[in-house]
């Protein structure tokens, strides 16, 4: 027995040493940097082979959030299809998207990020707040740039992120301004909020609280709810009991539909203002449409689908007809399309500097100035993260079931004084 054991240990020790010796030759070297490029002619680097630029997309293409991920990714695709038809970035480099399904889960997002990070120059979409926060430490250690598909305010100050659009807080502040100036409200009105119990809900609430300080009203009642709850009678009852004349709603479409249905049944008829992600075109075809038409306003950006008077919209509709004729009118599609435009501006700048490597893109983002979105969302002032200034304007829509996407512009592209004062800070940690 004794000798046996000693022999066995000896064998194991030999095995382990050989393994270690062999292992010693298997270190992962650094990923190669860019080989010398010159202005207008960047050298080859990870994700760029001299002719094609590859961009990553991390989006929920399946599961419950796919209703957002699919059109948004399609928006990315249509924009780059258009760019490719013009010859590509700087007229000569075609763009190819590498799509990965995150299922809207942080851990899957990290895996997918690892899977394609060495095949792309940047990520033109990472959808969702939690998935974006999950890859943020990796972006920082890899010196990678990603464009988040979420309107959270703390993306503004992150050097590794390239956000577009006016954040949720700005939407909420502008909605309050609209209600107090044109929506029949005054600072004595009973103003309430109903927000979902997560980061997105907190963003909306933060905007309303800021507006309350700036514009001098008080929030009479706040109701929170869990995503995908079945029954909202309790919250609606509490809001009705508090005598709310105006309710600001931060929700996603499936909850928003049920909430308004419950309110209609309970004969609770305040003026609702809701954040852009609360709306989806299908709501306009539901039985609650007459109630929504009368009492609901949606605060978002840009203009209604198919509005020919805004040049950016006219171009977008033409390109949808050409590259994605199946695409239904959709708010998220336009968001993805705008992301493509911001990423294109960044790539053009990087090509001009002659460096498409990760460091090159970071340096290019520091030098990026104002990017215009042709009226689909307001201009965004990029540049060093601490100096960036996102759009501060919103558009208020009313529900109109006969319109494409079910919304009609009530007030286009306005900025309130309170929204101009809002300060953006970094995400914690």
């Amino acid at each position: 027995m004794r000798t046996n054991r000693r022999q066995r240990h000896g064998v194991l020790a030999v095995l382990a040493t050989t393994a270690l010796l062999v292992a010693a030759c298997g270190g992962a070297g650094d990923e190669g940097g860019s080989q010398g490029g010159q202005a207008g002619q960047p050298g080859n680097t990870a994700g760029f082979d001299g002719t094609t630029i590859k961009l990553g997309v991390l989006s929920p293409l399946s599961g419950p959030t796919a209703v957002i991920g699919q059109p948004l990714t399609n928006g990315n695709k249509v924009w780059f299809d258009h760019i490719n038809s013009q010859g590509g970035i700087a007229g000569k480099y075609k763009v190819e998207l590498v799509q990965e399904d995150t299922q809207y889960k942080p851990d899957i997002t990290v895996q997918r990020y690892n899977k394609i990070k060495n095949d792309v120059v940047a990520f033109t979409q990472v959808l969702g707040t939690a998935p974006t926060l999950a890859v943020k430490p990796l972006l920082e250690s890899d010196k990678m740039i990603a464009a988040p598909a979420s309107l959270d305010a703390f993306w503004v100050r992150e050097p590794n992120l390239l956000p577009v659009g006016a954040p949720y807080q700005i939407q909420a502040i502008n909605a309050m301004d609209h209600y107090l100036s044109e929506g029949g409200g005054s600072t004595d009105s009973k103003i309430c909020t109903m927000v979902q119990d997560d980061v997105y809900g907190e963003a909306g609430q933060q905007g309303i609280d800021f507006a309350a300080k700036e514009q001098g009203f008080t929030v009479a009642n706040t109701q929170k709810f869990k995503v995908n709850t079945e029954n909202y009678a309790g919250q609606i009852g509490a809001l009705a009991g508090a005598g709310c004349e105006m309710v600001f709603l931060t929700a996603t479409p499936s909850d928003a539909g049920k909430i308004w249905g419950t309110a209609a049944q309970a004969k609770f008829m305040p003026q609702w203002y809701a954040q852009s992600p609360s709306w989806v075109g299908a709501l306009a075809k539901s039985a609650v449409a007459p109630y929504m038409k009368q009492y609901v306003k949606i605060v978002a950006e840009g203009t209604e689908w198919g509005d020919e008077s805004v040049p950016g919209m006219k171009d977008m509709i033409d390109r949808v007809k050409q590259y994605a004729p199946q695409q239904e009118p959709d708010y998220y599609f336009a968001f993805g399309y705008n992301q493509g435009r911001a990423m294109t501006a960044l790539l053009e700048k990087a090509v001009e500097r002659g460096d498409l490597s990760r460091e090159g893109l970071l340096a290019a983002s520091e030098e990026l100035g104002v990017v215009s979105f042709d009226g689909l969302t307001d201009d965004y002032t990029y540049g060093p993260a601490d100096k960036r200034n996102p759009p501060r304007s919103s558009t208020v829509f009313t529900v109109a079931p006969d319109k494409p996407f079910g919304l009609v512009v009530s007030k286009y592209n306005f900025t309130s004084d309170a929204a101009k004062k809002f300060e953006f800070t970094k995400a914690d940690g």
Binding site: N4, P106, A130
Partner: protein, 364 residues
Amino acid sequence: MGAHRNLTRSYADELRLFGTPAAKVGLGLLVAVFLLLPTVVHDDFWLSVLIYVGITAVGAIGLNLLTGYCGQISLGHAFFIGSGAYVAAQVGGALELPLPVWLLGAALAGAVLGGLVGPFTLRLRGHYLAIVTLGLVFIGEHLWRNLTPITGGNSGTAVQASPAIGPVDFDGLTLLGESYSRNQGWFWLVWGLVAIVALLAKNLVRTRPGRALQAVRDRDQAAEVIGVRAGRYKIGAFMLSSAIASAAGALFGSYQQFVSPDEWNLLLSIQYIAIVIVGGLGTIFGSVLGAVFVGALPALIDRYSDAIPGVRTSVGGDGFISVFALNQALFGVLIVLFLVLEPRGLAGIWLRVKTYFKTWPFSY
């Protein structure tokens, strides 16, 4: 009295970990694979899949001790995994203490929490216990969303627990002048821990307390009659299982560097139950097999989905089923098939293959 290839001559032989020559060779091979794999597979994607699988395997061993060996059904596993991640965020991140401290600290916190829940098992069993532990997940979700100083509330929190033991930092290993990537280092760390936890669990179940656990599982009143303190073992099993789950959670948090309350939901608990069922209830090896199977299969399908006809891989692509839907469907089918055809799980298949060769040429 040494062990014999196919004859058991004493009780001690029955209990040997690696009794036969074949088992020793197998162990050697496993050690070699463990040491060499990261040096051969440099791909961050596969390494990170395997790291998540290893972390899941640790958690699954914990659940298998509770459910497979002691017969206590728990739907609350996600709660303990989550609490471990937050302990790592506080002890390893905010206090900047080294790996052994935050890992053991998480295990200790898990044991304490498990000890608080444990007494419920004295009065409840079966479905009743399942529903009580289901409550844990929802209580946990409320806590994680509202204990903002610890968990960061809804926005989640960064976990900056450094995986370093003294001078050895698994985030950037340098051995004999060769530098290794973060994922390579983490692979060794996580699978090394899987080996340690598996060995501890195996040693526990082949000794007196392990036999007591199994007696409690099979018929707890009879166990009481022959002198097993059923209550003590039930609570003990709960504490041990939660401690291991918390350690897995701490590893998960430290590897992912960010966690949010959305991750510790009922689905995670159910996934763990699926893993121990598919792997094999009441086996340590099965927990690891199940984790590999449940964790790596979706990744495999995902990687080679473009080769499968009729699968849609991108928005606007053709095909009638998306990769995710295919994965979900396969997962469901597998659970059904295992329960119906192979109740002992993957470990059962392995045992049968082994027996076939052992008794050859008289196999049946």
